[in-house]
């Protein structure tokens, strides 16, 4: 199994933590779509559908990553789950708020805070 280039998944009990490890240029990059497909498949196998997206390692992103998150969210929503974002940089927070995605996904300052909210 190859190492993830863009999204590292960590199982934290009832929550699937997805760490964004580098900026996503476009979903056209094969590895990005493969990894997103892997996350969606992993969600399908879980009994509870709670996802935490951790941006600690990525200061900025654009519409491509938002689109990727929207793909994950579609599956989470289907299963009446929840998705929370944490560790966003000021610019990252600005981008999420600008696209109004903060109305769907709560933003927490830290991972611990986000996990508490989800659990």
């Amino acid at each position: 199994m190859s190492l993830p280039l863009y999204f590292r998944c960590v199982d934290d009990g009832s929550v699937l933590v997805v760490e964004v490890v580098r900026p996503v240029g476009s979903l056209a990059e094969e590895a990005v779509m493969q990894e997103l497909d892997g996350i969606v498949a992993a969600l399908a196998q879980r009994t509870t559908c709670k996802v935490l997206i951790d941006f600690k390692q990525t200061a900025y992103f654009g519409s491509s990553l938002l689109e990727g998150l929207r793909l994950i969210w579609t599956k989470v929503e289907e299963r009446e789950g929840r998705m929370v974002l944490c560790n966003l940089s000021p610019v990252g927070k600005e981008i999420v708020q600008l696209a109004k995605f903060d109305t769907l996904w709560p933003i927490c300052e830290t991972r611990a805070e986000a996990l508490t909210l989800l659990k």
Binding site: P23, G25, S26, L27, A28, E29, M33, A59, Y60, F61, G62, S63, S64, L66, E67, R70, L71, T74, S89, P90, V91, E94, I95, L98, A99, K100, F101, T103, L104
Partner: protein
Amino acid sequence: MTRVLIVDDSLTDRRLAGGLVTRAGELDVHFAVDGQDALDKIELHLPDLVVTDLNMPSLDGLALVKAIRDQYPMVPVILMTGHGSDAVAVEALRTGAASYVPKIRLADDLVDTIQQVLAVSHADRGRARLMRRLQRQQVEFQLENDVELIMSLVQFLQDAARGMKLCDDADRVRLGVALQEAIINACFHGNLEVSSSLREVDHHAYYDLAKERAAMPPYSERRITVSVSISSAEAIFVIKDEGPGFDPHSMPDPRSPQNLDKPSGRGLLLMQTFMDEVRFNDRGNEVTLVKRCRLPHSEDRNCQ
């Protein structure tokens, strides 16, 4: 005269290193007993070079390298390493140290290493002085529909904006996001003519079509032209594709609740938010992005 600061908590090692450096001539040698003492002395009188031990009380060599890199990025640091400290030396080099010399090889290698590092540092300072006098950069790129090239170009343009002191770090990130959106749009929607409406139905179909077209004429023959003019007052980016163009007014507002689950319009929204001006030509295959400087420019910018 070139000023060298030698930092070591061992009097013997300070004397040894100091003696070697003094013998090389033309160097004004000063001493500090640990990292904190070194920072105090650097604040009083900026050296041209620091030579430091790794293991010291108060503030060790690694922490000193980090502090100098943050506060005095033009001052190079050479490490003197003891036996068994190779891993820390590698870490220090990653952190920003210019070079290192094992203590057992000080007599043979220290002076040569100092001279090499000073030569590079002198060239760096000369370049930095020259770049402070740069008034305008004008460049033009022609790219294939290749995401990796696009990402590299965005990084290059962000660096150019930083070099011209056009914006602070946060604004440089916003600039990068807007440019990335504009050039990716030119590639996918412009040259490859893949529509976001396909993405609403099936993501894989959207990207499979893009991949197919990237290798198929006439799409594959189309190029993205990026013309850039950057001064310390403003940057103008003109991004042109060779596709049929589009009507930017036809884009839905991605912030409307009914459009939150649709993939269209977010790129344009980011461009319009993060740039001071965004305008399209009539055909809709060329976008001009303008970013203006909001930083107060130092009056002595050209005098250092």
